[in-house]
């Protein structure tokens, strides 16, 4: 399994701060989600980190078993 992590308001929208998903293309993972959550996760202001490293073009990620993919909305700061 792979793990999705939702930060900030995305955790509220997803109903929990993380979720286990089957490995595979992120596009497929998102397609299986409620549409409003998928849209929010792909918002251009949401950054994506794969195993702790920020990535660009996250939509093209293919999740392997054990991967952690985090969705990071704009920070509100410390």
């Amino acid at each position: 399994m792979a793990r999705l992590v939702f930060l900030g308001r995305l955790a509220d929208l997803a109903g929990s701060p993380e979720r286990e998903v089957a490995p595979g293309p992120l596009a497929d993972v998102l397609a299986a989600m409620p549409r409003d959550l998928a849209v929010a996760l792909l918002d251009e202001r949401v950054r994506i980190a794969l195993n702790g490293a920020l990535v660009t073009g996250g939509e093209a990620v293919v999740l392997a078993g054990g991967d952690e993919l985090a969705f990071l909305p704009p920070v509100s700061g410390g």
Binding site: V5, D12, A49, S76, G77
Partner: protein, 148 residues
């Protein structure tokens, strides 16, 4: 150069960290410390800060290293709370030590501006029993241009 960066998940007393930080830098001329607390008033009942461990702590460590190099510090300490906090509780404590006082003021000011606007924290406030997420503030971003 001493860098001490921590995420704290429980209420803390800044003095318990600032004393040892100061004593760890013999020969210093001055120490500047900023402590930010959860502001009361405005009906705020609680504040919650979430973080993402793989990014938040490395981000704070990078900030500490940049400040230390830019202002020629002997040491810098950045402590930041996460979790649920009540009004009056410290959220953040930044201390800088150097031989000269101008450097320590600027280093702490620099670190605070970056922590407030450019660090991996998400914040929500509870008012009247209802939690609401805090959006980034334009003021925080304009603060950063002071250091560009």
């Amino acid at each position: 150069m001493g860098i001490d960066v921590r995420l704290l998940h429980q209420p803390f007393n800044p003095g318990q960290f600032v004393g040892p930080f100061t004593h760890a830098h013999p020969g210093l001329g001055g120490v500047c410390t900023f402590v930010g607390e959860v502001r009361g008033g405005d009906g705020i009942e609680a504040l919650e800060l979430s973080h993402y461990a793989p990014l938040t702590l490395p981000g704070m460590e990078g900030l500490a290293r940049r400040a230390a190099a830019r202002f020629d510090l002997m040491g810098i300490m950045i402590l930041h709370r996460t979790g649920i906090m009540l009004p009056g509780e410290p959220i953040v404590c930044v201390s800088a030590a150097a031989r000269h006082r101008r450097a320590v003021f600027e280093a702490v000011d620099f670190a605070m501006d970056h922590l407030k606007s450019d660090s991996w924290f998400w914040k929500r406030e509870k008012r009247g029993g209802v939690w609401a997420w805090i959006e980034p503030r334009a003021e925080d971003h304009s603060d950063l241009t002071r250091w560009a």
